[in-house]
Symmetry: C2
Subunit: 595 residues, 2 copies
């Protein structure tokens, strides 16, 4: 739903003002909704007379951010009081998706500003409550009990979970999902290691009824032994040689300050929000230009907008495993409390977040974001000068960065999502994948038995690790020195020399070199980039701001690491849904409604 990279091309004029510190009790216009505000939203929606159907279940409640010019001018203290606080709500009632905008500027007198029925395709995120309830449906379902009996399994041996079923061309009014099950007996903590392969339920997660049931075939269940991941249960090396403990000590204390949701560190200032769907939202990041004694804007807003995870097994129980982790499960709802001195180092500070349950009541997520200074032993810049009258010189600047971390556990997978701010002015997003593979049970116990494509790797007896991709997409609304930005592609172009004289001097014996082709994106099509097509620098600049010698001032988008594109067919359903995964970069003009 979100384009992976959004750039504001030309909507508003640059406001090159310093971002003023906020010390008033008034919320920053981008602060997430408080528990008081969330509670006011709930009561307002429940009291809304035009929606009579019950129950109303709340699937998303988040801040409806004010218009960008209003937020930017809010930094003038005089305007602080006038920005309205509004919530955007997605709720289900009577089999319909309702969208509300609720004004909670005055939490004693909240009001619905607008209400509409979403009539296009697509559904809101699952609620935790309906996932738990749908997972339980099988327990009272006689055919499922018979399936277990035939396999010699007790009901208490089994746990079932909700698997989104993707989209395969049919626009369904019901909110359907697949339910698949695992053997959870055997003492292992590894919920996903022992699939009850071959059994699939189709359920209506809203009505909480089983719509279809299929017990296609029985497969061997992988053994519990050797699957537990707890340190005390795992084999070597996980219970073995543990490296010596080390703690970062900061004799002068932390170098950053958190004031509400504003973080200030070194030459950086930014706002950290939290959203049910996106999790961490970085807003209004500015870097201090000490030369000009000016805060220069860089990033109006950035967040992880989607994680698309298609599995590559076309068989009946697996073809639909084409998850959209953000849009279906919610990265914010799935974020887990961070373990001090494990998920984050000892010198970290923590922030809490709030989301709402299906009933609309605020739920507090403690320690959901951590902020810490990273002392990794890296070198920011160095030079040893051995020549010249001032030599020898050794000048070394050790690297210290600031990390804002969230860990999202969507079922089996754990994503660590870091925003890393550097004193040189760059921002790095780092995604680390951890957790547990999604596994498929098989009767194979040895690779020599395999004759056809098992769509994965036999990783243990009776266990296939199924091939899959993870496409993690970021929404980045860059405001480089203001909102009026351009996207520039500097493509590296090979040049051939045919023995002719170079521009000046003697004829060159060089037969080739490369140069750079400068292109400004003029259309949305030119804003789409497949990074693997040609070596190129991707730059975001403010064309009205130049350096002393006339170069544009900008940020460079540097892909560090894997830059895959999807290998699915263009006409395949999961690919149509995630069509943006065919290119890594999409630059579009700012449009608030396209968030």
């Amino acid at each position: 739903m979100y384009p992976p990279l959004v750039l504001v091309l030309a909507i508003f004029f640059a406001v090159a003002t310093a971002i003023a510190a906020l010390s008033s009790p008034l919320p920053h216009p981008l602060d997430p909704l408080s528990p008081t505000e969330l509670t006011a939203v709930r009561s307002t929606v429940l009291a809304f007379s035009l929606v009579a159907s019950r129950p109303i279940s709340f699937h998303y409640v988040g801040l409806d951010e004010p218009e960008k010019p209003d937020v930017l001018s809010h930094t003038n203290a005089a305007a602080a009081a006038i920005l309205p606080r509004r919530a955007f709500v997605i709720a289900r009632a009577g089999g319909l998706s309702h969208e509300f905008y609720v004004d909670v500027t005055n939490t004693s007198a909240p009001r619905v500003v607008s209400h509409g029925i979403h009539d296009g395709p697509g559904f809101p995120m699952f609620t935790t409550e309906e996932q738990v309830a749908a997972g339980q449906l099988s327990r009272e379902y006689p055919p499922f009990r018979e399936s277990l009996q035939r396999r010699g399994r007790a009901l208490t041996d089994v746990g079932c979970g909700v698997f989104s079923m993707g989209w395969f061309g049919k626009n369904e009014a019901r909110r359907l999902a697949k339910v698949q099950c695992f053997i959870v007996a055997g003492g292992t903590a590894n919920y996903y290691a022992r699939p009850l392969e071959g059994v699939t339920l189709l359920v209506d997660v809203e009505k909480l009824v089983i719509v279809a049931y299929r017990d296609r075939a029985a497969y061997s269940v992988p053994k519990a032994k050797g699957t537990d991941y707890r340190a005390g249960k795992a084999g070597p090396p996980f219970n073995g040689a543990v490296p010596a403990p080390g703690v970062v000590v900061q004799p002068e204390g932390k170098g950053f300050h958190i004031d509400g949701h504003i973080v200030r560190w070194a030459n950086w200032e930014f706002h950290v929000g939290f959203d049910m769907r996106a999790g961490t939202v970085i807003s209004m990041a500015s870097v201090h230009d000490a030369d000009a004694d000016l805060w220069r804007r860089v990033l109006y807003r950035g967040f992880a907008s989607e994680i698309f995870v298609p599995y590559m097994d076309p068989e009946e129980e697996w073809y639909f495993h084409t998850f959209m982790d953000a849009g279906e499960y919610g990265l914010g709802v799935s974020a887990v409390p961070l373990q001090p001195e494990a998920d984050c180092p000892a010198n970290a500070a923590y922030m809490d977040g709030y989301y709402v349950d299906a009933d609309g009541k605020p739920v507090k997520s403690e320690n959901i974001i951590c902020v810490f200074e990273r002392y990794a032993g890296d070198i920011a810049w160095r030079h040893t000068g051995v020549a010249g009258p001032i030599a020898p010189i050794t000048e070394v600047r050790p690297d210290v960065t600031l990390v804002v971390r969230m860990v999202v556990t969507v079922g089996n997978y754990d994503y660590t999502l870091d925003w890393e701010f550097k004193t040189v002015g760059s921002i790095k997003t780092v995604v680390s994948l951890s957790g547990i593979l999604e596994m498929k049970a098989t009767n194979y116990t040895h690779v020599d038995q395999i004759r056809d494509d098992i769509h994965g790797t036999l990783i243990a007896e009776n266990t296939v690790g199924v091939y899959h991709d993870h496409f993690i997409t970021y929404h980045l609304d860059l405001d480089i020195d203001g909102t009026k930005n351009s996207f520039i592609k500097n493509t590296i172009i090979p040049k051939r020399n045919t023995g002719v004289r170079a521009t000046s001097g003697a004829p060159t014996p060089r037969r080739s070199y490369w140069t750079v082709l400068y292109e400004v994106a003029e259309t949305e099509a030119e804003g789409q980039v497949n990074i693997n097509d040609a070596p190129a620098d991707l730059l975001f600049v403010n064309p009205s701001k130049k350096t002393k010698v006339g170069n544009e001032v900008g940020y460079r988008l540097i892909p560090a690491g894997a830059t895959a594109t999807s290998l699915l067919a263009n006409n395949d359903y999961p690919q149509r849904r995630a069509s943006y995964t065919k290119k890594q970069v999409w630059v579009t003009p700012y449009n608030k409604s396209e968030k």
Copy 2:
């Protein structure tokens, strides 16, 4: 000269023995030559009666490593005494390159084992002494003095350095190099910021004579102001907001032990050598398999074998800037002493290295390698389990790694070359580029004046940062569970589904997926990989070692970050010399002479 990646395919049988600890005063067979041994090498070469010409200048002295089977069997203590200690020497005398093998097993009775004249193309590395002397030649050269006078510059304002001149089709008997100069007056520490553009000397670095002189044109010299990089002299932000200091404290002390050149840490054991040309050499890295209580071999030897740096300016003073930093300048000779608590964190240990000067005398490089445990705040593995009878579970393993670091300063550039060992068994090589750009003086002071290709970016008034590449190549002799290894390419292949039934179950609505094509390299041609051609896993396995379920045991080569290939024309001279830069991976059978 070195292929980027060397893999032993099938020479010797696996020796799956544990690597015994060495506590005897006998050197490990891979230990670098000691000062005593280097001194013995020098006297032996100087006394060698078949080479009467004087002077003899020493360009390379390094360990001639014993044959691999001898080294591997040396781990049996009984064999320890019998391995000979030999040096390989490249020296110049009488205008010829002499190659010696010198036995120094008994340093009281060293002897030349073999001597030969190198009669192919190519020359050894520069010595420091000849670089310094060649840089001084201009001072007494009247045409150069006239050039300075015309420009109003004093001799004391100028420093000159040796620039290797690449290869452009001519096989020259003389050791020629270009000399180019910089204005070093003006109080800046930045030797490279103020080129005396347009003036080039061609010198014979051996005879120390000027062979040709060219003063083509005078260009504006960039101003000194704003070029100094010392913290006290640099402008903001480098003298500005400094992050809070942080120190890694290890309450139980360091977790690694250095015993001579052997490093032991967590489940790792490896040998750290030092070589004049390659710098850090990692040998015999083994990882402990706690399950089997066995040390398993991974890497017989690994080192950075070349850094090719072609510049992309075809003009007379720049076309030849096609450096081979290892082969021409030497990474070991160019390695710089590491600054404690800056180049390496406070919890680092340091090792020294030795090389020889032009006279063959040993020179000690102190603190040339550091070893430290890296606590970067990363997570090695984690999972939060929310479902199942044992939930909730949060299991987090913070990441601690071991880094072996060297910093090489080749003129203007500083390369930080890290080997990072991880407890999960992986090894990561990390290259960080720092230092100072190679700059070209120009009369331009603003980009609006530029009409043609200036082959770079106007980065300051009168200063162009010239386009260039850095290709850093590693020689990796992997011995995965023994020397008998295979190279496997698992290419990801898109599959299209035409509505037919999947292997079993109902017809699938999926129209596409991908699978993996397994290919074993049978020839050297199949061992060449352009990583950007197709998504693929590159694996090195021992085909005779299988897991319980029959999978091969191996290491995966994971390109992290930029994987460029050269854009130069195949028939261009620098490309012919660095032809390996057209593909990122070259796997060849082991051949000691191809090191």
